[in-house]
Amino acid sequence: MNIPFDIILQLFVVICAVAAITVRDLLSAVMILGAYSFFMCLMWAQLGAVDVAFTEASVSAGIGTILLVAAVLKTTRRTKD
Amino acid sequence: MKTLSLIVSIIVGAFLMYGTIDMPAWGDPDSPASTHVSPYYITHTEVDTATPNMVTSVLADYRGYDTLGETTVIFTAGMACILLLRRRGGRNKDRG
């Protein structure tokens, strides 16, 4: 396993997680969560779990992001924290 | 409230990190999770199911009832979403 690539992925995942809960715009938060899901998918592909990575890329990063965007567009983008 | 939540999160995280001291090393081939039940799946999957992909054979063949339950969960969630988001017409319009 390539150790530096592993560390880069873990760093990006943690940065995306922190950014997704601190940004003050809900649509941006949802988009950052989609990026988080794709980084997580890369991480699983690198751990050898290719089936889980496929499922994550299609189900969680695809359908989950679509559901969240639809919910934000149906309600509001404004948030206090 | 925010500082209290942060303190609670840090304390729980510290306890969980204390728990990792007794975990097997990361990626250890001789960890208990890799030595008890999974060698059966790895060695018998070709004989039992004639499928080279072990994940598929375990998902659809050895643990097919598990997948059936998962489908039930998805069906229940879909029914709950439809029932919650349906716009009710008629008398009780204010209920959404």
Partner: protein
């Protein structure tokens, strides 16, 4: 130093999990709480997937041609552990189901109270 190299992956998973936990208990916006729940679930799934990893040249849990038709004894240490992968496939799909139901409840609350902030909803209920 060996101890840190053997365990630091677990600490990163715990950090992710605590980020999600903090978002769930501290944020007042409902969508932010749902995002925190998603991060929490993903961190737990990542922990389970990492249990199945084996250092030292183990490949994907798909049998090669030589092992599938050779008839000789299969070396277990050569393949990753397939069982956590299967269980986590189920967990991902269930997490999407819970996300859908949570978002449906959030949309319903917005239709009734016209806000997503928890404190304003509590004020409107009183």
């Amino acid at each position: 130093m060996d101890f840190i190299i053997a365990k630091y992956n677990y600490w990163i998973y715990i950090t992710l999990m605590m980020i999600g936990f903090y978002a769930m208990i501290a944020k007042t916006n409902l969508i932010k709480k749902i995002i925190g729940m998603n991060i929490f679930q993903t961190a737990i799934i990542l922990f389970f997937v990492s249990i199945s990893y084996k250092r030292g040249g183990a490949t994907l849990p798909i049998l090669t041609d030589a092992d599938a038709h050779g008839g000789h004894v299969i070396d277990v240490a050569q393949y990753l552990n397939p069982l956590p992968h299967v269980l986590m496939l189920t967990a991902i799909v269930v997490s999407i189901a819970t996300l859908g139901v949570a978002l449906a409840i959030a949309i319903m609350m917005y239709r009734k109270y016209h806000t997503l902030e928890e404190d304003e909803i509590l004020k409107a209920i009183k």
